[in-house]
Symmetry: C3
Subunit: 450 residues, 3 copies
């Protein structure tokens, strides 16, 4: 009898285990009760067997019901749905970022070229994403800010990991080309309100197809690799009978340390793009998106092709972090025999006064969400981070006069909750553009993602 | 016995199958049974204690599981998600409004200035909103009608109520400035298809920051107060080197009665706004959004600042309701020494033939959703409301010639369900604008929000 | 031993702790147990009655809880919510289609009129739809591709079936006019990447009101009928003082066979539309949406009214399918005494190599989702379909010179999962347009709907 009971208990525990969730547990009590009644002679063996079988069937039905069930989670500030077997997943969410900026500069002789204060919705996005039949991911994301723009819109097959040593994902659609650590780090997580000046070169999203993989190296290190072919933009860019340009692009990263509080990241990428004599333009705002002027701007010129490359370096040591990139763009001009070469770089350091660490994402070789140790409104004070960056962009070469610019930025970030952040940036901008005066810019942001 | 048992098992399996969560309650039965068995001597005290403990543990586990669960509700016509502890909430929804209008007017000498019949999607919105970590609310709403426009996009902190006597919310982002009862009442709930003529002065949504509070007065009365600072629009309005204009605005309301069927509401608001010599324009359609002409229109003129104010009065007595506002806008012109003062007012009465009352919202001092006593398609006939309004707008003063207009409107509303409404409006419009003929307008709307 | 058991029990309870829902069914087991205990004399009749009553109450409470619950399903690749009584339903989803196309053609004397390769997001849509209070459906759908466009935005009453022999639905809002089998078949399900050339005549979505019904005929046959009144587009089309044009349109279909693997469909539709001397234009791309030229294009001309009609024929026999349509458009010109008559037709055949059948939708008389027998990534190879189409469009008549075009297309479709499809089309296009060269077009698509 004792043994039987023990067996029953073990079985019950096992069942509760596989069931994950639930309930069911009332059945457990029943089985114990039946054992007791049998041993007391209150029921006979036949009755015990019948009732135990009944109880088991109930249990199985409940387990089946639980497996079929969709789980909803909200605890992290995002609403997520998934089937209990993880075969199907779905998420709807978005982000809102609201900016206000004040410009301090000498008056321009042309009043239209003064710097004006302004407020704006920097980003207001919604997305739907999910997984279907285990191995297919999708995402659609739209940004309602400004005149609106489609962001991610892709389909991804992740099923090759069944046949290979490593994960190898194939993505088709509109998504970011694998180029530049700061560009590939989501705007939700970048350290300053705007990415540094050399971001002018980063291709960002285009319509294409790419393969990516990643894996472990050394004790707690990590590598990633991505290779893709991309067209231009989300509409057919062939209006004047030209072929739309296209690009081959690849990126590799290597992180000998990639733990929660200690990261050392090396990376590099290159993109070769054809243009079919298209008019292109390279320009950048002074690290403030509300700016109504650009200190560096090549104007439009015709190009046949471009070759871009960059190198990335980043490190995290507890609450301290540094990050830097150098980028170069060599452009084959249509209307001149010579090529032009433009370049830029930035470097920055940040410190979480409250002790958090910047989070490194092993799958993408980029940075991710910082979770403050205390939540504002729930007895905590959030996370506080101070940071400083210097960045440079030189768009002057040969026949192209785009001027050069240097920015120094200091920043203060307050992470009220894992999904809510307030930012203050003060930017000092200098350029050799004779048509504009150099501004200092104070700007604030409130942001939430959900 | 065997057959009965089998049938019972099948039934149980079926139930468990369709089921998801539930019932806890089996544990209770167990405890009763154990008591009976103990007193009958079928089990001994030790067995009773063990089994009772087991049963209690089951019960507690089930209760805890239910608490961790996300609740989904749909019964009001809106889908809402929340954690059982109310810490996280999420909602996705929207609204669709479809209009058709017919214009009756004498022919114009300029055929391009005739009034043309038309159909349009008046509003087609979706929104995501929610609460995270108890004290932070957010909302994003976009309107796909016309060429599309971002509506609400904000982040709100509601946690100060932990430290203060009253709720005091801080909102950052794009939302309606606190000005005008009719403007602040959602388009889902306004009594006529379009707001009255003086709505030309209401600032509606801008990007800014505001504080608002509310509380009880007298027996069943209510007050609200709001104060905010706002910029202009959702993109930086500084293109010509000007600073974007900004405004300080406040509104207070006082309702000595604010019950379900008896409301008396007094309110007033004021907004002081700077423009930095910007070109502005004040104009309004004849209370029909499909109108291809405007009888009142100042054209563009430059302004340095404006001072707006309004007073509000509204009452509900059972199925009867009245509402009125007066608004004035005093504008400091850039190109003339003098100021100009423009104004408008409206007043209306409505009667629910089927006995419902307009609903007053205590938190915002505006009007809300009317729930019909019977649902169409479920045996009821919905709610029926008749209403009449007179409104006036005078945009003529000093050097500004915008003409003046008077409208009389009669309306019939049919609330088929709490979220579905059909509206018919007939508008008589008169103006002293010599370039246009006065139209009569018949218009219909179908609307749903979800 | 006792301790061990207790530990095991605690473990089991802990596991159930993380759980969510629970076991209704235990109550049933209780009833069986009570019967046994009664017949064994371990409890008396009074105790049996009391405990049985208690158990029943538990059971009822559990059933009630289940009924109040919202069910979430994801297994088909779409997330759907509904109350257990089906009174309220909600779904959020969308589709993404990504294209790349290569054009082969002789060089044009005007280089701007060459055909250029291109990539594009063909469709990137999200929708919200649902049912409220049993009898009211709604849908909003927006397409973010290109410069964005509102698709479905409607409200539908389905409650008349309570009073009539047949379903009779009334729809108000923006939705497709009932005209043309291929137009009414969703872009998710059409056999080729683009609809055939005569689709130039199909009115597609406008703002209006329509009634539709359907029913059974013969053994497994089906009929549908729809009649509607529609305006033009989603904004009031009355800018120059004209009245917006409007149309009366109807469609009937008859399918003597309408089973899962055998379909014979006949259909026809007609639309009479007024234009109030509006400028209209009829044109069509060569069955490739990335095309930067159109071989057939009437240019703008003024019309008073048009009368369109079409006939439809389709058949499915196991994996084989054929489909064809003829359309004609007779237009009353404003600037010429005579009418012009334009027309077009297409015919195609398709074969599912893997044995699936095209699915016929009885409610709408159109084609629907094909579910492959094997899922890619879950051990299957998906469904494979080959197809060929010939289509013609003649826009030349009387004073209108729009040229005529013939296309031949071969297609290969791979349905990886029920919601994911990859398509390859090769189009041969010929026209008598002297200003353009005839292209051959190779194009690819990846698509998912969710």
């Amino acid at each position: 009898m004792k043994k039987k009971m023990q067996r029953a208990v073990q079985l019950a525990a096992l069942m509760a285990l596989t069931a994950m969730s639930s309930g069911v547990s009332a059945a457990l009590t029943n089985e114990q009760l039946l054992s007791v009644l049998l041993s007391n002679g209150a029921i006979n063996q036949q009755q015990y067997d019948d009732l135990t079988k009944l109880s088991k069937e109930d249990d199985d039905a409940a387990k089946k019901a639980i497996e079929d069930e969709v789980k909803v989670s909200m605890k992290g500030g995002h609403i997520k749905f998934k089937t209990a077997d993880n075969e199907f997943k779905f998420q709807v969410g978005g982000r809102v970022m609201v900016d206000s900026a004040w410009y301090m500069a000498n008056a321009n002789t042309d009043p239209d070229k003064n710097w004006g204060n302004g407020t704006e919705i920097r980003r207001a996005r919604i997305f739907l994403k999910g997984t279907v039949w285990d191995n297919w991911d999708f995402k659609v994301q739209y940004d309602f800010a400004g005149s609106g723009s489609l962001k991610d819109a892709y389909l991804r097959y992740t099923g090759l990991k069944q046949y290979l040593d490593h994960p190898l994902n194939i993505t088709v659609g509109n998504f970011k080309e694998p180029f530049s650590l700061e560009e590939l780090t989501s705007s939700k997580y970048i350290t300053f309100m705007e990415r540094g000046l050399p971001n002018a070169f980063a291709p960002s999203r285009n319509l294409g197809v790419a393969a990516n993989s990643y894996g472990k190296v050394l004790d707690d290190g990590n590598w990633t690799a991505a290779l893709g072919w991309f067209g231009q933009g989300i509409t057919a860019n062939n209006k004047n009978g030209q072929n739309e340009g296209n690009a081959v692009v690849g990126r590799v990263t290597f992180a000998p340390w990639a733990s929660k509080t200690k990261v050392l990241h090396f990376g590099g990428a290159a993109e070769y793009r054809t243009y079919d004599q298209e008019l292109i333009r390279i320009r950048e705002r002074p690290e403030a998106h509300t700016a109504n002027n650009r200190l560096v701007d090549t104007g439009k010129f015709r190009a046949d092709s471009s070759m871009k490359w960059n190198v990335e370096l980043a490190g995290v040591y507890g609450p301290f972090s540094v990050q830097g990139e150098f980028m170069q763009d060599r452009i084959d001009l249509t209307d001149y025999a010579e090529d032009v070469t433009m370049s830029g770089w930035y470097g920055y350091a940040s410190w979480f006064i409250t002790g958090e660490s910047r989070k490194y994402s092993n799958k993408s070789g980029t940075f991710g969400r910082v979770k403050p140790k205390g939540i504002v409104g729930k007895g905590g004070w959030g996370a506080w981070e101070v940071a400083a960056r210097y960045s440079n962009l030189d768009l002057n070469d040969g026949p192209i006069t785009g001027y050069s610019e240097n920015n120094a930025t200091i920043g203060l970030n307050w992470y009220a909750t894992p999904t809510i952040r307030f930012m203050a940036n003060y930017v000092f901008a200098w350029s050799n553009n004779p048509g504009l005066t150099d501004p200092n810019i104070a700007q604030l942001r409130g942001q939430i993602d959900f």
